[in-house]
Amino acid sequence: MNLLPFVVAGLVIGSVYALSGVGVLVLYRTTGVLNFAHGAVGGMAALLVWQTVELRMQPPVAIALGIAAGAAIAFLFGLVAGPSLARVDQLRKAIATLGLALALLGVMLFVWNDKARTMRLETSRISFDVAGARVNVTQLVCLALALLVVVGTLLALRHTSMGTSMRALASDRELAAVVGTNVRLVENTAWAVSGAVAGISGILLADQTRLEPAFLTFLIIPELAAVVIGRFVSLWLTLVGGLAVGVGQSLVSAWPTVSAFSTAVPFVVATIVILVATRRRVVTVGVVRA
């Protein structure tokens, strides 16, 4: 059996998982919010693109609109819920985004029902052969974009003032505020940027897989697996993790006998990483405020 097409497909999907995971990671490090709604924001963006293209809008404009919508949704949530979220612990922050995911899923199901659609970007129509595997331009875009975003994020975090502020917040929120960082501005920027990243990856994933609200919402699962492999800190390891999860899923789905278990790959990988990464949890003194 020629496994190369599966490896290529896995690498492409995996690179989008990684791309999306970078958005989750930057937001998590900056605001402490692990965004379970990342996939739902992407789904929303993809469906908006599909809808506006159906309404005869130029695809590039539609895509720009979709990405802007993703950024706007995340930004608005950060703007409205951010101040209250800042006061609760990390687990509750994450749970609150679960509510956002549910609400967005509800809106998508209400407006577009749960029919599986397909969306083909213009770039997917141009394809060529590489060593027996068919590759289209969208897939190249996915791979290049993932690499670009990882490198770009690393450079931005290191060399821009906003990036420095984000690192300051990630290190210690209170201290960053004390030395005069505009915490709200930095957090809102992080929300908007991660929303835009979610939008981009949602549109790409909708093109590569299928355009279905619940499916796209729960793509947060492999994306989170990538972040877990990156141990919630490393952008490069997140990239590696995304690729690993993508290729793993793709290879498992290559064999008919086990193909049904391919969705369990993120769970297995994340569990192994969680087991290996930290031997003991650190017990800290603190009182839970109910």
Partner: protein, 343 residues
């Protein structure tokens, strides 16, 4: 000591809850309007989901653990029930207990690795399990009397339907049956929360360092909690399977697990009343919306936003607000003579 036990406020509250629950379970079918037909069947399923909600509520409210896979575990319980029934034809009550045990084992196995880390990793892992279970259940289907491990009939063979338990053949008998089982299981859970394990769980939630310094094995106690709540959820799966005799993978999607979690937090995770409210919201509200002609998907929007609100501002949920209301109203309704307090 015996008198002390009965004068404890939590014990009295639990007894009142037990009495109200039993009255509702046995008396509701007599009510005109809600006591028959679709409404009664809906209430039956709501009562069943109250068990799953109680599992989520105890884990979150008593231990601070987030489990987003509970509907997946309901599916596991239902699958085990049908599998065991078609293999052995044992009485339903025995099958139910066995299914609860199977579900407990699955829940523990899944949670074991994540429990060693922070609460966030359990949330992540359980969400992943919810996604994986959805696909597995869709792939495997539910046993309906066929051969082999999966027990699926194929071709033109008719599916075999598991009969309802002997004590609950008709709709209103089955409601009473479910009602009594739910009340008994909730009572056992309440009792567990009042005795040593429950108090240890509370100690862990209050401060892990303190619990560790008292010699509490926190991982073991968390595992016990996972086992107990998973077993309770397995009972819910068994009852669901008994209700229709056959189950549909479409009712166990991953978003349902998230929805259940939302309803529990909105209902109130700190009390079992919250679980009952959560069960009502989870299954009753979509039915209610579609009865009045609205799209059932709006439930996701309402409950999703409700979850954000519950997490950020109203931690105790609706049950907490009801309890607060009761605390304020009671002195006005039944004014008590002020007791002298001697120190």
């Amino acid at each position: 000591m015996k008198q002390d036990f009965f004068s404890r406020t939590d014990v009295r509250g639990a007894l009142v809850g037990l009495a109200v629950g039993l009255v509702l379970a046995l008396g509701l079918p007599f009510l005109p309007g809600v006591g028959a037909g679709l409404a009664l069947r809906t209430l039956t399923v709501c009562a069943i989901y109250a068990l799953a909600a109680a599992g989520v509520g105890v884990l979150y409210g008593r231990l601070g653990l987030v489990s987003i896979m509970q509907i997946g575990l309901v599916a596991v319980g239902g699958w085990a029930t049908l599998r065991i029934y078609h293999a052995t034809h044992l009485p339903f009550e025995v099958v139910m207990v066995l299914a609860a045990l199977v579900t407990a084992v699955v829940g523990v196995l899944v949670g074991l690795p994540a429990l060693r880390l922070s609460g966030l990793s359990l949330a992540i892992v359980t969400l992943m399990v919810a996604g994986a279970l959805e696909v597995l259940v869709t792939y495997a289907g539910f046993p309906n009397g066929g051969n082999g491990f999966l027990g699926r009939v194929s071709g033109g063979t008719l599916a075999v339907i598991m009969p309802r338990p002997g004590l609950g053949q008709s709709d209103d008998e089955f409601f009473r049956y479910v009602g009594v089982v739910v009340v008994v299981v909730l009572a056992l859970l309440r009792w567990l929360l009042m005795v040593r394990p429950g108090r240890t769980w509370a100690a862990i939630r209050q401060g892990e360092a303190g619990a560790v310094s008292l010699g509490v094995n926190t991982v073991a106690h968390r595992l016990l909690a996972l086992a107990v709540t998973s077993a309770v959820t397995g009972v819910a799966g068994a009852l669901l399977a008994a209700g229709s005799g056959i189950l549909d993978p479409a009712s166990f999607k991953a978003q349902q697990s998230v929805l259940l979690f939302a309803t529990v937090l909105i209902g109130g995770a700190f009390s079992l009343l919250g679980a009952v409210i959560g069960g009502l919201f989870f299954y009753g509200m979509p039915q209610l919306l579609s009865t009045v002609g609205l799209d059932g998907n709006l439930v996701f929007v309402v409950l999703g936003l409700g979850l954000v609100q519950a997490v950020t501002t109203a931690q105790a949920g609706i049950a907490g607000q009801l309890a607060e209301l009761w605390r304020r109203l009671r002195p006005r309704l039944w004014p008590r003579p002020r007791r002298e307090v001697t120190v």
